[in-house]
């Protein structure tokens, strides 16, 4: 998207978006149950972005990606049909006001959860499904293993992001110096590293992972494991429908719990004759739980059957064997050193 926008256009975009957001917050949010509207419509409306691996149309015009799969999982929970969901792409400037205006039932476009968005915009956030953060992409030959080693280095930052502030804070804290080069266009940004004009790029690490694949020799570069900022990307919904929020929460938890229990799309049916009461409740073999909460007792089973557990969704879309080649890092179960943790299904 960046090659299109001049600085002037971006300025107008920003100003207009802020104006709209300001007026939007001044108006009362639409009342009425989101879930009722979804049931009436027969489909969930999901707002997404466009970014390789996370949400992108394939050659047949079908949405594919990490966040898209969570949208399909939601459709399984509500309708037991992964196809009953409409994805609409929205631009970063537009997506938050559009959610407020009721254009979507849920925003799965990689929104960073922040306190301002929760209170001032009136959004509930579901569980974090992708722990992102500002990273550093450096040349392997520099032999650098952590950010502090980059003392005196020249680092490229993309214009109009919070990255500039974060990197300055990071170096000030560690008492090191660096030289910054601010670049507007995303291709120029990449070329700066390719041509050796800068030593490193800094940006959200998910974005850097994609940038790396576009370099002339991707294998010569490494994304440092360190994160300079916290960017927890979570599903966002409007205030006002608690049951819808719980459905979002437990749909995400189901994928995480399945991975913790070692249940995958392939092996799930071998668990059907288990004697483990935890698995029996989770998969709905023991129907009492589903009946008590008013969902299909087998909703978790259906989700895993349709899209797989969290690990499978991750690996299929952005994992090591894809072109994105993202490391799981914080995005693995707490038992393996990550931050994913599902409350118990009981």
């Amino acid at each position: 998207m960046k090659p299109l926008s001049s600085a002037r256009m971006r300025h107008w975009l920003g100003a207009s978006a802020i104006l709209v957001a300001a007026i939007a917050t001044a108006l009362p949010a639409q009342a009425g149950s989101v879930l009722d509207a979804i049931n009436q419509r027969g489909k969930i409306k999901v707002g997404v972005g466009t970014s390789p691996g996370f949400f992108a149309p394939d050659s047949n015009g079908k949405w594919q990606g990490f966040f898209v799969d969570f949208g399909r999982a939601l459709a399984v929970t509500v309708f037991n049909d992964p196809a009953k969901v409409d994805f609409t792409s929205s631009s970063p400037q537009q997506r938050l006001p559009a959610l407020q205006a009721g254009e979507f039932d849920i925003l799965l476009s990689g929104v960073t959860e922040t306190i301002t968005r929760a209170f001032k915009l009136g959004f509930h956030f579901g569980p974090v499904i992708f722990f992102d953060g500002q990273g550093l992409l450096v040349k392997k030959s520099l032999g650098v293993t952590k950010g502090a080693d980059l003392d005196g280095a020249t680092i490229a930052i993309q214009a109009g992001t919070t990255g500039e502030l974060n990197i300055a804070d990071f170096f000030r804290k560690s008492g090191k110096t660096f030289k910054s080069v601010v670049i507007e266009d995303s291709r120029e940004f990449r070329n700066a590293l390719d041509s050796g004009r800068v030593d490193a790029l800094t940006q959200d690490s998910s974005d850097l992972a994609i940038q790396r694949t576009q370099l002339a020799r991707p294998d010569d570069y490494v994304l440092l494991p360190e994160r300079l900022s916290k960017e927890p990307l979570a599903p966002a919904i409007r205030w006002g429908d608690d049951r819808w929020l719980e459905i979002v929460n437990w749909t995400v938890y189901a994928t995480i719990e399945a991975e913790e229990l070692g249940i995958t799309r392939a092996n799930i049916d071998s668990f059907l004759d288990t004697s483990d009461p935890v698995v029996k409740r989770f998969l709905g073999i023991d129907k009492s739980l589903g009946e008590a909460i008013g969902l299909d007792p087998k909703f978790a089973y259906n989700i895993i059957k349709a899209v797989g557990n969290y690990g499978e969704i991750f690996e299929r879309n952005v994992g090591k064997n894809t072109k994105i080649g993202f490391d799981r890092g914080l995005n693995q179960p707490w038992s393996s050193g990550g931050l994913l943790y599902s409350p118990p299904f009981r």
Binding site: M1, P3, L4, M9, W12, L13, A15, S16, A17, L19, V20, I23, A24, L27, Q30, A31, G32, G47, T50, S51, P52, G53, A56, P57, D58, S59, N60, G61, Q64, D86, T88, S89, S90, S91, Q93, Q94, R95, P97, A98, Q100, A101, G102, E103, R187, I210, T213, Q214, N317, T322, K323, I324
Partner: protein
């Protein structure tokens, strides 16, 4: 040495200025055209997958081949894609019909309106198939529909605005001036934002108007303000005596305008109107900021598929070629039309 060769030599190297210009062109060809052709033609990969492309280098036209359907029709359901294709042809036919002077009659409005309605119905999937919501529309049909309906819808509005701006009634004149100046005073993007984000918040609860429709109306309003100023320029080029002659014949205001003033006024500004049309055709790409998939945006999104990651050069080159063909045709048409209307006895 023949005379022509000598002329050529003189033209290219005759004096210092000519040598400099020739050197400039040679440098341009050497530094830009040759590498571009090398990339786009000589080294290009026409068939295969992205692996073939990254192995063979050059432009990856195989990407465009694989993505042709998506770039052209976006998220439109594959099994009823013929509807979108027919709608495209129909829209082009309407656009061409509007351009041919021989068809300029009162029937044109009826024909055009009919064509547009049928195109919209086809895209919507009625009758008889399942409804295709406007969110699934994309690619070329969206670009064509937005531009053609934007221009056609703006035209009557623009004529009314231009006449109102010349009106002797202060109230009407004021309304027109305020509308035109306000709309011209803000960028198209903010009008789009207002239409897509603010407007739904103002509607009573439960009521909703389709996003595509809102964007389309926003475009019509935006274009009408600019077009009204062009029409007004045309009106002021018609001598006052023409109106007076109409009045003297006992014609009503509307008859005077319809039969005497407007035909002369509009003819005078046709080149400006075509110029506006080219601008509007390109402006429709701005709908990508509100998440609509026009031709440019589908091409951009095509390069985000992990299977075909990052072939932005190819997609933008392809889109640029299509836009260029359309705009160049329009611009040649405008030149031709000027000559056609300028010839003696032109109607």
């Amino acid at each position: 040495m023949t005379a022509t060769a000598l002329d050529w030599r003189k033209g290219l190297f005759g004096n210092k200025t000519n040598i400099a210009i020739t050197a400039g062109y040679a440098a341009f060809v050497w530094w830009l055209v040759v590498p571009f052709l090398q990339w786009a033609v000589v080294d290009a990969t026409l068939h295969g997958t992205s692996e073939t492309c990254s192995r063979d280098g050059g432009a990856c036209w195989a990407f465009i081949v694989a993505k042709a359907n998506f770039i052209t029709f976006g998220f439109y359901p594959a099994d009823v894609r013929w509807r979108a294709a027919v709608a495209c042809v129909l829209l082009l036919a309407v656009a061409v019909a509007i351009c041919v002077p021989r068809f300029w009659s009162r029937w044109l409005a009826a024909f055009g309106l009919g064509g547009l309605v049928i195109a919209v119905l086809l895209l919507l999937g009625v009758p008889p198939g399942q409804i295709v919501t406007t969110e699934q529309w994309g690619g070329l049909p969206v670009t064509l529909l937005l531009s053609v309906v934007g221009l056609a819808g703006a035209f009557p509005l623009a004529v009314m605005l231009a006449l109102a701006r010349q009106s002797r009634r202060g109230g009407i004149r004021m309304l027109s001036v305020v509308f035109i100046e306000v709309v011209r005073g803000v960028p198209f993007i903010s009008i789009l934002y207002m239409a897509t984000l603010l407007f739904p918040l103002m509607l009573p609860h439960g009521a909703s108007i389709d996003k595509f429709l809102r964007a389309q109306v926003a475009l019509i309003l935006f274009v009408s303000a600019y077009m009204a100023e062009i029409v007004r320029a045309g009106l002021s080029s018609v001598p006052r005596g023409q109106t007076e002659a109409g009045e003297a014949l006992g014609l009503s205001y509307f008859n005077t305008m319809q039969l005497i003033v407007m035909p002369q006024a509009l003819r005078a500004v046709i080149p400006s109107l075509v110029n506006l049309a080219i601008g509007v055709f390109q402006d429709t790409t701005l709908v990508l900021v509100i998440g609509m998939f026009d031709f440019l945006n589908t091409a951009r999104a095509a390069a985000t598929d992990p299977q075909w990651l990052g072939y932005y050069d190819e997609s933008f080159a392809f889109v640029a070629a299509v836009y260029f063909v359309c705009c160049f045709a329009l611009s040649r048409y405008s030149l031709w039309l000027e000559r056609y209307l300028g010839r003696p006895g032109a109607r």
